[in-house]
């Protein structure tokens, strides 16, 4: 073999290794997004499990908020019906935003019911809810960070070529509405 062939072979090997590394990188990033989505889903499930407890306690005191409670129950049921699949992420997250918004309103309304506000079970449930909210926020941040990494890889050359070949597309970020998080006071 002459030196030119050897050089071509070595360069091809280097190129192949490089392309393989890029491929591994994209797949890893894609899987990280899926992992992040699963984490968000787990945290959302925690919230869904907690909502009935809040509603049961609140029902006894909050006569004037019946509509809000019905809406929350309805949204929860809708959100739980959506299959935990990455394809449904947009739908799931938009429903969740709506649900979180209504829940925040409900928890703010608790302020108007001093008897309920001082109820120990309610206090504990609301603290747990707050904790779950923080975990959801952390999981969303993790999801956004994973999506950011993947989108960079999908949009920047040369990894964009491999991503296009693999049919991997940029994903949507999760963006919270500005008025979404109204923290209940006193917790």
């Amino acid at each position: 073999m002459d030196s030119v062939t050897i050089t071509v072979l070595v360069l091809s090997a280097i190129l192949l290794i490089y392309l393989y590394m890029v491929y591994i990188g994209i797949i890893k990033k894609k899987n990280k997004v899926l992992e992040a989505f699963a984490s968000v889903d787990v945290q959302l499930k925690k919230r869904y499990d907690l909502i009935p407890n809040i509603i049961v306690i609140a029902k006894a005191f909050m006569e004037h908020e019946r509509n809000l409670m019905t809406e929350v129950t309805k949204l929860r049921a809708q959100a739980m019906e959506i299959k935990s699949d990455f394809k449904n992420i947009g739908k799931k997250l938009s429903l969740d935003t709506e649900l979180a918004d209504k829940m925040s309103k409900l928890l703010v309304a608790v302020e108007n019911y001093p008897q309920l506000k001082s109820d120990k079970t309610m206090l504990l449930t609301m603290q747990t809810y707050n904790e779950v909210e923080e975990h959801i926020a952390a999981a969303r941040r993790f999801y956004n960070s994973a999506v950011n990494d993947l989108n960079n890889a999908v949009e920047i050359f040369p990894s964009s070529l491999i991503a296009a070949m693999l049919n991997i597309k940029a994903k949507d970020f999760f963006s919270a509405k500005s008025d979404e998080r109204i923290s209940p006071k006193g917790f």
Binding site: H135, A137, R141, S145
Partner: protein, 335 residues
């Protein structure tokens, strides 16, 4: 409950006026310094003048200056004596005047230091603590421990020097998370290089080289088990700190955007050289690196009634209480 500086000053003045031992000791040491200096001056003049007459003026003046130079060691010695006295007698009372805080020897041990995750066992460090500056206390239901700590390699190269503060943390921590200042990491790497380069020559160097290869292989294997580096959203925060954790979600749960902002500001607000922190075992540890000798009061020649005498001491101790307020450690919202 903590006292503000004016209240603290009032209590301090009460203590000073009711207990004369501090002023007596100060007077005693001052008088002793003056006597010693006078004695040295008389001796130096006598020796110098005699030498001028009997040997030569040059020898006389030289001897006079040489003996007079000895006076420079008298003041630092008396200062040290006085500081030692104040530390053992006055500081425990001063610290309890600020709030619910007391002296507690060895409140932070090696076990705690290795658990925090900021120092790895492979760093092969030894550590020393200045046992006179260790406190334990409680503020707004949060227990805390403070220790002026010096951690170094066996060859004396410093890994960390400053104060170490541990707070009880009200969030459940399942996986440790470390936030290391890039300056702190650089210092650790620099100290590590000096530690290995000072160990020998020739054959010993070869053996060290081979040993390093084995260690590197071990490290590579261990690296899989080590914490992951995490990139958070705040670019300024990431420029100054390195975040390592086992669980990315838990790390984000602990390091909220507002926490990152406060931690960044903390460095400037408290004029810290470098600052790192760790979350582990439901505790929050902060390492503030500084070359300054902390928790010190005024000097032998400073008036005890002068607020300047205790202002630094108060400020440094109050920093800990401020930190609980600043990082909202007593709140459960995590904001």
């Amino acid at each position: 409950m903590t006292r503000n500086f004016q209240e603290f000053l009032l209590e301090y003045k009460k203590e000073i006026s009711s207990n004369k031992i501090y002023t007596d000791k100060q007077e005693e040491l001052k008088n002793s310094v003056i006597k010693q200096i006078l004695f040295i001056i008389i001796i130096s003049i006598s020796v110098g003048v005699s030498a001028c007459f009997f040997i030569s003026p040059f020898v006389g003046i030289s001897l006079m200056l040489l003996i007079a130079a000895y006076t420079t060691s008298v003041i630092p010695y008396a200062e040290r004596e006085y500081k030692k006295f104040i530390k053992t007698k006055l500081h425990p009372k001063l610290i309890s005047l600020i709030g619910n805080i007391r002296y507690s020897k060895y409140c932070i041990d090696r076990c705690e230091i290795s658990n925090c995750g900021l120092f790895r066992e492979t760093d092969n460090y030894s550590f020393s603590q200045s046992s006179d500056d260790e406190f334990e206390g409680e503020y707004k239901g949060i227990n805390f421990k403070i220790s002026e700590t010096h951690i170094s390699y066996s060859n004396g190269e410093t890994l960390f020097s400053g104060i170490m503060i541990i707070f009880d943390y009200n969030k459940k921590i399942l996986h440790p998370c470390c936030v290391s200042d890039r300056k702190f990491i650089d210092k650790k790497q620099q100290a590590s290089r000096v530690n290995t380069s000072n160990q020998g020559e020739g054959l010993v160097l070869l053996l060290i080289f081979l040993w390093d290869i084995i260690v590197s292989i071990k490290k590579l294997r261990r690296k899989r088990k080590e914490k992951k580096r995490i990139t958070l959203e705040d670019p300024l925060f990431m420029k100054r700190f390195i975040v390592e954790a086992d669980d990315e979600i838990e790390a984000r749960y602990l390091l909220t955007p507002s926490f990152m902002e406060r931690f960044l500001d903390f460095k400037t607000k408290f004029k810290a050289d470098s600052i790192s922190c760790s979350f582990y075992d439901n505790k929050f540890m902060v390492l503030i690196s500084t070359d300054k000798d902390l928790f010190e009061t005024g000097t032998l020649f400073q008036n005890l009634d002068d607020p300047e005498f205790i202002i630094d001491f108060y400020d440094e101790a109050a920093t800990v209480f401020n930190m609980i307020d600043y990082f909202k450690l007593d709140e459960k919202t995590g904001l």
